[in-house]
Point group: C2
Chain length 601, copies 2
C-alpha cells in the first residue's frame, strides 16, 4: 500500500472519518467514562466504529486516543500501551486498505505563564502518546481540536522527535480566533514554518461557519488542508447536545470546502458513517486545487496572535534593537540581578514606535543568559503581540527561549562557525523558527560581496542537506563600516540582489555598523536603509527612535508600491513640514513642474 504522503501528493480528494464520541455513547460508553479506557473494555465496539467509517468510504480513520496523554489518562495507566491498543484497533479495522490517523487532543493543561506546565512537559507527554500510536501502526499523527498555539506546536515537535510519519495539526476557532487568541492565518503560518504535512481546522461549528476560517487559511497556504466540521451548530435539546445537519445537508455544505481548494474533508461532533458516505458521494468527482500563492519569497514570524511577513512584496520592517545591554549600564545592572523591568519598558517604547519585531539580547557580562533569556522571552510573549527575535551566542539559552515561545520567533543567528548550523539548524527546523544566516566564519572577514556570497552559498547548501527549508532562512547582508571600507554599502546591495534573484532568499541587516566613525550617522543609516529597501531587503535591526528613519521607511513604502493609496503615509505625514529647515538662500515660492516630460513633447 502507498504511504499517506504519496496519497496526499496525488492531489485527490481524501475522505476522513466522522465523530467518535456520539457513536461511543450510543454503543455503550458510560457517562463520565474515559473513551480511551473504553477501548480496553470494549475493543470490538471501537474496532467496529472504525470499520463502519471505512465501509462508509473514509480513506482515513482516526484512533480513539484523543485524550491519550498522561495528563488526561491519570497515573494508573501506561500511556504508551493505551495508545498502542487504540491505534491497533483502527489498524485491525481497515487492514492495509485504509489509513489510520493517530488522534492527539489537548492535554487540558496550559503552558506557563497561562498555566502551570512547561512546553517541554507537553512535548514529553505527546512523545509518550506518539510512541504508542506508532507501535500500534498509525500512518500519520493528527493533532485535533487544539486551541492553544503553544500546545499545537508541542504536538508537532513531539511527532518529529519520535517518528518520520506525516503530521497533521488541527485547531478549532470561535468567531475567528482560538481560545488563546490565535487566528487561522497565524496558526497556518506557524505550523507551515514547522513543515507539517496537513493543516486543519475542526469542530466548533458547522460547515458554513468553518468556511470563513478555511478561506483565511486557503489564502496563504502551500500545504494541503483538512476540514472536519460538526454536523451543524450544537444545540441543547432536553439537556442534551444535538447536531441538526442530516447527512445530505452536511455533505452538500462540506462539498464547498473541496470546491474552494481543501483536499481533505471529514466530520467532527455529531457526524456518523452516513454523513461520511454522503460526503464521499458529493466530493468524489471533485479535484481540489489550492489557490495560487505569490511566487515571491518571504519568511514569516509569528507570535501567538500576529504574523509578520518579511520579503520584497511586503512592507519592510524595523526589528527593534534596543533590548541589548551593549553600552547600556542600566540594562546591564538589571540583567546581572536577574531583573527585566527596564527591558520590558524598552520593548513597549519600541512597539509604540511601530517595530515589526523585537530583538531580545540579554548578553551582559555575569548575567545568566540561560535563565534570563527564556524568562524575558516568556514575559514579552505574554504581554505583547509583536514577534520576537531571540538574539544570543549562547546556544543553550537559545534552546531555552525556543521552548517558552508560543509562535515562530526569529533566531539571531547561525553563522559559519564550525558546527553551528549542525547544532542549531535542526532545532530551528523542528521548532519552525526562521533564523538569520550570518555569512561570517572564524577566518577572514568577508569584505567583498563575492566573499560573502561564497559563505552564503556554503551555509545554504549545508541547510539544504539538513532538510532545512528555504522559508526559514533570512540572510544577513552584513553591513561593514563604510568609513574604512568604501565599498561596504555597495557590497551589501549586491548581496541583497544575489539572495533575492539567485537564491530566492530575503535579507536582513543591522543598520548602524555602516556609519561607524562618521558624523551624522542617522543620515547615513537612513539612506542606506532606503537603498537596501529598493534592492529588496525585508527587515532592518535598528533603533526605531529616529525621525529620519521613520520618514524613510514610510516614504520608501509608498515608492515601492507597498502602501496602498499611500494611506499610511498620508495618515502620518499630511501635516509634515521640513523642520530641518532649508538651506540658505531662503526658499522662494517656486511652482512645481508637474507635467510629465516637462515641455519637451
Amino acid at each position: 500500500m502507498q504511504s499517506f504522503r504519496t496519497f496526499l501528493a496525488s492531489g485527490k480528494t481524501i475522505i476522513f472519518d466522522g465523530g467518535m464520541g456520539t457513536l461511543l455513547q450510543a454503543r455503550g460508553l458510560a457517562p463520565g467514562e474515559s473513551p480511551e479506557r473504553f477501548s480496553l473494555r470494549c475493543p470490538n465496539v471501537v474496532e467496529q466504529i472504525h470499520r463502519d467509517y471505512w465501509q462508509a468510504g473514509a480513506h482515513v480513520v482516526t484512533t480513539n486516543t484523543f485524550g491519550g496523554t498522561r495528563f488526561k489518562l491519570g497515573g494508573d495507566v501506561d500511556p504508551v500501551e493505551m495508545n498502542r491498543i487504540g491505534a491497533s484497533l483502527a489498524r485491525k479495522a481497515v487492514g492495509d486498505k485504509g489509513f489510520v490517523a493517530g488522534s492527539i487532543g489537548p492535554t487540558g493543561r496550559m503552558i506557563e505563564p497561562l498555566g502551570d506546565v512547561t512546553f517541554r512537559e507537553l512535548v514529553q507527554a505527546f512523545e509518550e502518546q506518539i510512541r504508542g500510536l506508532v507501535q500500534g501502526g498509525v500512518d500519520l499523527i493528527l493533532g485535533e481540536t487544539h486551541f492553544d498555539l503553544a500546545e499545537a506546536r508541542a504536538v508537532v515537535v513531539a511527532a518529529r522527535h519520535v517518528c518520520d510519519l506525516p503530521v497533521g495539526i488541527s485547531m478549532t476557532f470561535e468567531e475567528g480566533v482560538s481560545l488563546t487568541g490565535t487566528s487561522p492565518r497565524v496558526f497556518l503560518d506557524t505550523v507551515e514554518n514547522m513543515g507539517v504535512d496537513l493543516v486543519a481546522t475542526n469542530c466548533s461549528a458547522g460547515p458554513e461557519e468553518l468556511l470563513v476560517a478555511a478561506k483565511e487559511m486557503l489564502a496563504g497556504t502551500r500545504t494541503p488542508l483538512l476540514v472536519q466540521p460538526n454536523a451543524g451548530l450544537p444545540e441543547l435539546v432536553d439537556g442534551k447536545t444535538v447536531f441538526r445537519l442530516d447527512p445530505e445537508a452536511f455533505a452538500v455544505q462540506t462539498r464547498e470546502f473541496v470546491r474552494a481548494g481543501v483536499q481533505c474533508v471529514g466530520g467532527c461532533c455529531g457526524t456518523t458513517p452516513d454523513h461520511i458516505r454522503a460526503l464521499k458521494a458529493e466530493t468524489e468527482a471533485l479535484t481540489p486545487t489550492l489557490p495560487e500563492q505569490s511566487a515571491h519569497p518571504c519568511i514569516v514570524l509569528t507570535s501567538r496572535s500576529t504574523s509578520l511577513s518579511l520579503g520584497f512584496e511586503y512592507p519592510s520592517q524595523i526589528i527593534g534593537e534596543r533590548i541589548n545591554p551593549t553600552g547600556k549600564k542600566d540594562l546591564i545592572a538589571q540583567f546581572q540581578n536577574g531583573e527585566i523591568t527596564r527591558a520590558l519598558e524598552l520593548a513597549q517604547e519600541q512597539v509604540d514606535m511601530g517595530v515589526g519585531a523585537l530583538d531580545v539580547n540579554v548578553g551582559a557580562p555575569m548575567a545568566d543568559e540561560q535563565e534570563l533569556l527564556p524568562l524575558l522571552v516568556r514575559e514579552l510573549a505574554s504581554r505583547m503581540q509583536t514577534p520576537l527575535c531571540i538574539d544570543s551566542s549562547d546556544e543553550q539559552a537559545v534552546i531555552e527561549a525556543l521552548n517558552v515561545y508560543p509562535g515562530s520567533p526569529l533566531v539571531n543567528s547561525i553563522s559559519g562557525e564550525p558546527g553551528k548550523m549542525e547544532r542549531l539548524g535542526p532545532l530551528c527546523r523542528d521548532y519552525g523558527a526562521p533564523f538569520i544566516l550570518l555569512p561570517l566564519k572564524k577566518s577572514k572577514l568577508p569584505v567583498t560581496a563575492a566573499e560573502r556570497i561564497a559563505i552564503i552559498d556554503e551555509l545554504v547548501d549545508q541547510a539544504d542537506s539538513l532538510s532545512i527549508p528555504r522559508r526559514l532562512i533570512l540572510v544577513d547582508a552584513l553591513a561593514l563600516t563604510v568609513s574604512s571600507k568604501p565599498l561596504a554599502a555597495r557590497a551589501c546591495l549586491d548581496v541583497i540582489r544575489y539572495c533575492r534573484e539567485a537564491l530566492g532568499l530575503t535579507t536582513v541587516m543591522g543598520l548602524s555598523n555602516i556609519s561607524f566613525g562618521l558624523p551624522a550617522r542617522e543620515l547615513l543609516n537612513t539612506h542606506f536603509m532606503t537603498m537596501c529597501m529598493a534592492a529588496g531587503m525585508g527587515a532592518f535591526i535598528a533603533n526605531p527612535n529616529s525621525q529620519r528613519l521613520q520618514e524613510a521607511l514610510a516614504a520608501s513604502e509608498v515608492l515601492l508600491g507597498r502602501d496602498p493609496q499611500a494611506a499610511s503615509f498620508i495618515d502620518r505625514f499630511s501635516d509634515w513640514q521640513p523642520k530641518g529647515g532649508t538651506l540658505s538662500p531662503a526658499r522662494k515660492a517656486d511652482g512645481d513642474v508637474e507635467d510629465v516630460g516637462r515641455s519637451s513633447i
Copy 2:
C-alpha cells in the same frame, strides 16, 4: 594608398612635420608678408619645404594655410582658391606616398560676448577654408594652435558640414589653461563629444612643458593624441625669437610622449626637417598605447572651463530646475519683456547650492524663445562655470542656443515624437551635445518599465543609425506619479538598471513628478533620489534648495563609495544634529552596537 583613418587605426607611431614659419622666412618670406600669399608668389619654395619634411620621414605634412580664413586673408582674396592652392602644393610634394593635413589656425576674432563675431560666422569662414583644402586634396583637417574652445568647436563643426575627412583639433595651453580658460581635460572632453579623430596640443612651449598638458589628456582620452612641441621655450636673442633645442635633444624629449601613449608626434615653432628626422629615429621602434580607461559608461557636459561627468562611477549631480517659468509669475513677466535678471539670480542661487548643471527653460507664453534662449544661455555661459542644460520644445530655439554655447551643453530633450530624432539628433552629434532621450511618444503613456524600455530601444536604434554615439545619450527614466501609479517608482528603478546593464547608458530624471498629489513631497522625492542613485542614475533635475535632498545626496555619495574618505560629507555634516527632532517617547542615551555580527559569533 590607405586612408588616414586606417593608418591611425593601425596603432603605429605617426610622424607629423615641423615648423613652417622659420623655414619660410629663411627661404624668402618678407617681414609682414602673409605666409598664405607667399604660396602664390613662391609655390616652389613651399612645395620644397613640404618635400623636405617628407624626405625627413614625416608621414604627414601640413598645408601652409594656417591663416587661411577670410578674416585673416582680407577681402581681395578668394579663400577657397587660396586654400585649394595651399593644399595642392603639399599634395604635389608628397604625391600618394604621404598624408596632407589641412591646417586651420585661429581667425584672430573672438565669439560674442568676448568679441564681435558669432559662432555661425566662424563656422562659415572655416567652411570656406575647408572647401578649398578639400579641393586641393588634403587627407585630414587639422585645427592648430587654438586658444578658445568655441572657435575650436567651430572648426570641427565646419569640417563635419563640408566633408567626411578625419578631423584633428589642437589647442595651445599656457600654464595649464588656454587663453580663454579651458584646461586640456575640458578641451579633450568637449572635442571627444564631437567625435574628432585626433586630439592635439601644440606650440606654446617645449616638450617638457607640454608633457603636463598631454598627461592630463592621456588620463581621460579614448581618442589618439597628437603633440607638436616647439623646439624648446622661445627666447629673445638680439630682438629675434629663437628656439634652443637641437634636433637630438628635441627628439629625445618628444620621445617621452610616445612612451606615455601619444600616437602622433611632430614639431611646431623652431623645428626643422632635421628635428623631424631625429624624432623619427627616436620613436620609430616604439608602439604607443593609450592608458586603459574606465569601462563604466558616462556622459560628459562641459562649459568653457568645467567638465562634469555623469555616470555610476561619478558623484550624482543635481541639475538645477528653477530657471523654468512654469508657475513663476516673476519669471514669466520678465521673459515676456525679454528680461533675464531674475533668471540670472536663480542661476546664482542654484550654483551656490552646488548644482552640477543648470537647466535653462524660457518657455513662457508670449515669450520669444528663439531670441531669449540664446540670449540667456550666452549670458549664463559668460558668467558661470556651471555647464548648462538647454531645455526647450522649440527646436529652432535649441539650435540658436547650441550656436552660442562654447562647450558641450545638455539638450533637454529628444523624445519619440515623429521626426524629432532625425532633426535634432545629427545636430547634437555634430555639436557634441549630449541629449536627454525621453521615452515618450504621442501615443500611449508608457507606464510599465517594459513599455518604456521598448521606446528606449527604438530611439537608441534610431540614434545608432544616425551615427550618434552612445556617449551623447542620457536616458530619462521618466518619473510618473506614484499616487496614481503605485509601481511608478519601481518602473524607474527597472529602467535605470536596464539602461546601465543592457545598454551601457546613464540615466537622468525630473524628480518632482513622482510625489505629485501627496503630502511631504520632499520626503518622497528625497528617498526616491536615494533609490535611483543606488540603482545607477547619474543626475536629477530638481530644486537644490532642500535640506533633505542635500542630506540624501551627501550621504548616498558616501554609501556608494564616491566620496573618498567621506571628506565632503564630514566637511558638511560634522556638526549635524537632527533638527527634525525625534519621535516620542524621547530618545534615551542608548549605546550603539558597533561590533560586526553582533554577539553571535
